[in-house]
């Protein structure tokens, strides 16, 4: 998986991409050397699967994304917002995609796109912030400082030694990626790392290695950036994507993720998000362009992953904090709702549509009822994709949804109970 690099090849690769501008300092080649040795000693991650999480912030209107287009109630409750039957992209005789999702339909037809319907949790919370926190921490019952992905990353062997065991594309840290032990870096754009390479780095490193308790967390964030920059500089290859990406922030983030995947960074989880889904008013056009952005971004990313020959290793999960009210409001928009579909892009999916569309006749306070707990989706991702026991990570046993056709044997669990019981600190 990792090609041995000669010092010269290594320098050439890092120099072209990172534009060092100065001769690579000693530590850079020492780092590459150390990594090479570790690889030769047989160090391998427990498995090499990658999860990419895409967060749609604001509450995506699931009902206008995966549309029960033959349902008369749909048209009654959405007099101005219902997508006309002849515009829907049909998936079967009942369900269709929003017309701006034509690209995703090609993934669906190729068996690379799955819709998990009616996902939510009991007593749905209609606050953006609380509901997002619930999805990210996988805990609807109490406020908690770690996220489901951070807790997963805590269990990955040697996670502490990999500076980019997980990576957030963006400048804010989602609680989903906060673990008890791991520190996941955030990066606005890979270009940002440039300033951290070179003669500065060593003196900064010394300055940020602090003993003082108040200062240490800040120093650690800076060190995390320095470490991540080093690692990227050492490993980034010259992969040139043959796939054109749209010029949206989401697509740009996904393109950088693809670049990192192509560089074999051993990163397990990538996280990115895109906003604007809180469509309380004049929703139709806005929502169409949002969905188009998601559809085109995801499709470009997936085609890229296929083109680099890594489709077997990558799974994408797309979620939002809630769906929207079934009946439209008086401003051609929709208010906060409950259950909504979750999307998965990947190879080896069991089927394109998982679960039933929630009934429009049996609403809860005007909202769709969930029939799949979001933690069952997470359980499938954790157990059947990442190969770990989900129970301790999700604080309970949730039956995995039937997502993947072939599920791997369960690997040995690497966490200890004491770790998982350790106090929750944010």
């Amino acid at each position: 998986m990792l090609l041995p690099l000669t010092r010269r090849a290594f320098l050439r690769k890092s120099a072209t991409l990172i534009a060092l501008g100065v001769a690579a300092p000693g530590w850079l080649s020492r780092l590459a050397e150390a990594h090479l040795q570790a690889t030769q000693k047989g160090y391998r991650p427990a498995n090499d699967r990658i999860l990419v999480v895409v967060q749609l912030s604001g509450g995506n209107d699931g009902l206008n994304t995966v549309i029960p287009y033959t349902e008369s109630l749909y048209r009654q409750m959405r007099p101005t917002l219902a997508v006309p039957e002849n515009a829907v992209i049909p998936l079967n005789e009942h369900l269709g995609l929003h017309p701006s999702m034509a690209k995703v339909k090609t993934l669906y037809d190729a068996g690379r796109f799955a819709i998990i319907q009616g996902v939510g949790y009991p007593n749905p919370n209609r606050s953006h912030f609380r509901s997002m926190e619930i999805w990210q921490t996988a805990n609807p019952d109490s406020v908690e400082g770690t996220g489901w992905l951070g807790r997963y990353l805590d269990t990955v062997p040697d996670s502490g030694r990999n500076a980019i065991i997980g990576l957030v594309l963006g400048r804010e840290m989602p609680v989903a990626m906060v673990g008890n032990r791991v520190r996941v870096p955030c990066v606005g754009s890979l270009d940002d790392f440039r300033s951290l390479i070179g003669e500065n780095a060593e003196s900064l490193r010394a300055m940020y290695s602090l003993r003082d308790e108040r200062l240490r967390p800040v120093g650690k964030e800076a060190l995390a950036a320095l470490d991540a920059a080093q690692m990227v500089a050492a490993k980034m290859n010259q992969y040139q994507s043959p796939i054109p990406y749209p010029q949206t922030p989401l697509a740009q983030a996904l393109q950088q993720i693809a670049q990192l995947i192509a560089s074999n960074l051993n990163t397990r989880v990538y996280y990115c998000s895109t906003g604007g889904f809180d469509t309380h008013a004049q929703q139709a056009q806005r929502h169409a362009s949002l969905l188009q952005g998601v559809s085109e971004g995801l499709t470009a990313f997936w085609n890229d992953v296929e083109a680099m020959g890594k489709a077997d290793r990558v799974l994408v999960l797309v979620f939002s904090e809630f769906g929207r009210r079934v009946a439209e409001n008086g401003s051609q928009g929709t208010d906060h709702g409950a259950a909504a579909p979750v999307f998965v892009v990947g190879k080896g999916l069991q089927s394109g549509i998982i679960g039933e569309h929630p009934s429009l006749r049996d609403l809860q306070d005007g909202d769709l009822r969930h029939h799949i707990d979001f933690r069952s989706v997470y359980a499938a991702v954790l157990e059947d994709w990442l190969g770990v026991d989900s129970q301790p990570l999700l604080r309970g046993r949730f039956k995995p949804v039937p997502l993947l056709a072939v599920t791997p044997p369960r690997t040995t669990l690497h966490y200890t109970t004491s770790l998982l019981k350790s106090p929750i600190v944010r």
């Binding site: 209609r126 804010e172 790392f193 300033s195 951290l196 900064l204 010394a206 602090l210 800076a222 401003s331």
Partner: protein, 445 residues
């Protein structure tokens, strides 16, 4: 703690940083006098009337970059720092983003409303915000009409602006939305109440029944203990530290009610409290991008350039570039003024620091120390003033200038780096400036 140290703390938290000049000025008034002076900012004459036009130049339309540069100019040059800090507080509390409002004039007007009511009555502020055109557009209340209410404004009013989550029911949200039907906008006019769009029916809100309208809802909300708790705790957090002690919070809530919801009374009590100048507070708060960027620029004297330009009624291109640069730096650090990430505002405190934002702070420090970028306006004066000093004295002087308090480890690391720097490369002063601003210590206030 010396009086000067206490006043420096006051200026970091209730002002926009403790520059030497401000520290000298307020020190003469004593701590209590300094609090009074900061709070009675009406007595300080400021004239920004021509500024926006100068920034706008001959642009056919007022656009957000003009408004952003205008606020940055005020933040950099104001002699009423507490007033601007309160504008920031309200901008974060009633977080409205130009990304959706899409009207620079309305974003400007909202900012001026926050400035006008900065330390005023919370009831008045809530009423003004509920009628504020930018807010009406932001949370869709301009489209909220009888029969088909839009819940967006009502929900955030309860969840974020007043009671806080968990203190109301979904039914309360729906009823409050009905009460605000007909609070809408008329083009070219602004706020307008349209009776035909208003739902006159009976509503039940937080246990009260009647034909309630938006003002009734606000009256019920301002006198609710949960509103007092949320606002007082948030103000305390903004000025002092994370968790106010229960007794401290209770005392603030009492003041909120006794004063008739006067925000100024609550703020004064915070600033005069023992908690505020306790070790738990001093230098424990992570600087927001405004504190980091604006505070640094005010300390190194760049503010004077802006002040001079404003007084001369001519804002040169270089100063506009500086304003833009400061705005973009803050944006990259996670705080784009007028563009909060959501109606909840920004996450403050430790959340400001991620590996990505630390990289941005590093970059800012580098550009401040670079004679070809921001440093061009800073380094010559510093060189003239401190150029002859030995390493340790220089570090001491620069730390004082920047109001930085460096830990021994940090100081040693900086001195070691400076001593390694060969004479010909970056001058010691600029290396030191860069490292102080990049240090973990300097991220705290």
């Amino acid at each position: 703690m010396t009086e000067r140290a206490r006043i420096a703390h006051l200026l970091r938290r209730a002002g926009l940083g403790a520059s030497e000049a401000e520290l000298d000025y307020y020190e003469r008034l004593g701590y209590r006098g300094a609090v009074d002076a900061l709070m009675s900012y009406d007595k300080v004459h400021e004239d920004y009337s021509g500024l926006l036009a100068q920034i706008r130049g001959d642009a056919p339309q007022l656009r957000m970059p003009h408004v952003k540069a205008w606020w940055v100019a005020r933040l950099l040059s104001t002699r009423r720092p507490l007033q601007e800090r309160m504008v920031l507080f309200w901008h974060n509390h009633f977080a409205t983003s130009a990304s959706k409002v899409n009207r620079a004039d309305l974003m400007l007007a909202q900012n001026e409303t926050f400035r006008r009511l900065a330390l005023g009555s919370f009831r008045e502020i809530l009423l003004a915000v509920s009628r504020d055109p930018a807010m009406l557009l932001w949370l869709d209340n301009h489209l909220n009409r009888k029969g088909k209410p839009n819940e967006n404004f009502a929900r955030e009013l309860l969840e974020l602006f007043t009671l806080g989550i968990g203190n109301y029911t979904e039914q309360d949200v729906k009823e409050a939305a009905r009460a605000f039907t007909g609070w809408t906008l008329r083009p070219q006019v602004g706020f307008q109440f349209v009776p035909a769009l208003h739902d006159d029916g009976e509503k039940q809100f937080l246990g009260q029944r009647g034909n309630l309208n938006g003002t009734d809802i606000i009256d019920i909300l301002v006198r609710h203990p949960k509103t007092a708790e949320l606002l007082c705790a948030k103000l305390f957090r903004f000025f002092a530290y994370e968790q106010p002690e229960p007794a401290v919070l209770r005392a603030l809530m009492r003041t909120y009610f006794d004063s008739g919801y006067q925000v100024g009374a609550v703020v004064r009590q915070i600033l005069l409290s023992e908690a505020f100048i306790s070790p738990k507070a001093v230098r424990t708060m992570v600087k927001s991008p405004v504190d980091y960027v604006i505070g640094t620029l005010r300390c190194v004297g760049l503010a004077h350039q802006v002040t001079r330009a404003i007084q001369a009624q001519v804002v040169p291109r270089a100063v506009i570039a500086l304003l833009r640069g400061a705005d973009i730096a803050m944006q990259r650090m996670g705080m784009s003024l007028f563009y909060p990430p959501s109606v909840k505002g920004w996450d403050w405190g430790k959340a400001w620091i991620t590996s990505a934002t630390m990289v941005e702070r590093l970059r800012f420090a580098e550009s401040l120390a670079n004679p070809r970028t921001l440093g061009r306006a800073v380094l010559p004066a510093l060189q003239a003033r401190f150029g002859e000093l030995g390493d340790e004295q220089l570090l001491e002087q620069l730390s004082t200038l920047l109001d930085a308090s460096l830990n021994d480890d940090t100081r040693r690391a900086i001195l070691r780096t400076v001593q390694k720097t060969s004479a010909g490369s970056a001058p010691k002063l600029s290396t030191m400036l860069r490292l102080i601003c990049a240090s973990a210590d300097y991220q705290f206030m």
